[in-house]
């Protein structure tokens, strides 16, 4: 996944939502993402990727950008072009070292180390980078704009991609 800036093509269609900075309303955006993804024919797995990435970006905007100040809005735009879906999340916070944050996010997650230090938060950007095709973070005195791109040439709905089955692992010895 690249993190360099990519211009959003002139969208064929766009949807804009503004929510108060309260985690209760994060779900509004997540449900909207579901509608958009199904409209675009995303596979079941790709729909879930989009919902999770959007949820993480909106959570960051509410908690870190707008400091959960209810009256300050988080803006979300879904921009649909023929080959991409872009999701732009904006808040009023500033992230001076924005690009460095993206570039310094580890490629692998060291859970052992985190458990040893009781660190359970801070995985949002890591997950986003695993789930989307491209991200860009811009921040200045006006606020922060975080954009995620989903290429439409993969993960579209077809029989091969749909997987709603509940999966279990190899047999476990849970009696030992």
């Amino acid at each position: 996944m690249a993190t360099s800036g990519v211009a959003v093509d002139t969208p064929l269609n766009d949807i804009e939502i503004n929510i108060p900075s309260d985690m209760v309303f994060e779900r509004v955006v997540r449900e909207s993402a579901l509608v958009v993804a199904k409209h675009l024919g995303f596979s079941e797995d790709r729909v879930a990727d989009l919902q999770l990435a959007v949820s993480e970006a909106v959570t960051n905007a509410i908690e870190h950008g707008n400091r959960s100040e209810l009256r300050v809005k988080v803006g979300v735009k879904f921009l649909m072009t023929p080959d991409k879906l872009a999701v732009q999340v904006t808040d009023k916070g500033q992230w001076p070292a924005a690009q460095e944050v993206l570039q310094s996010t580890p490629a692998e997650w060291n859970l052992e180390d985190r458990l040893d230090h009781d660190l359970t938060r801070g995985m949002g950007i890591f997950l986003i980078q695993k789930l989307v095709d491209n991200v860009e973070l811009r921040s200045d005195e006006r606020g922060t704009q975080f954009t995620m791109w989903f290429n439409l040439d993969k993960g579209l709905n077809n029989v091969g991609n749909v997987n709603i089955e509940l999966q279990g692992p190899e047999k476990l010895d849970i009696f030992s």
Binding site: D45, E56, E112, L127, E165, G168
Partner: protein, 108 residues
């Protein structure tokens, strides 16, 4: 309530009843660590969505289980949630079991 908790002599079965394991339901899930027994099974059968706030709550259970020598298992996990758990290496500490493997514990 986000949780329904069944307990036996040495097991706890936690049914997560919310369809989202997120910031809103995280506190109640993390608090369930007080009720973990030797074997604790988390049932994700009703869960449609998990984000990092929810995973953080689950990690608090993992941390407590490790500290207290308890075993933690997950059942009824969707393919996507399994993928996300793999991304954050969660399955090393909370392996996914099949329900038929868990039933002998809770229905001896």
């Amino acid at each position: 309530m986000a949780l329904k908790i069944d307990q036996g002599n040495d097991y706890t079965l936690i049914h997560i009843q919310n369809d989202s394991v997120d910031a809103v339901s995280a506190r109640e899930i993390a608090a369930a660590s007080e009720q973990m027994q030797a074997k604790t099974v988390l049932d994700f059968g009703s869960v449609m969505f998990i984000n990092s706030a929810g995973i953080s709550a689950l990690l608090k259970l993992v941390i407590e289980a490790r500290k207290r020598g308890k075993k933690l298992f997950a059942v009824n996990v969707t393919a996507h949630h399994r993928k996300v758990f793999e991304m954050v290496d969660m399955l090393r500490y909370m392996p996914i079991a099949r329900m038929d493997e868990v039933l002998p514990i809770i229905q001896p």
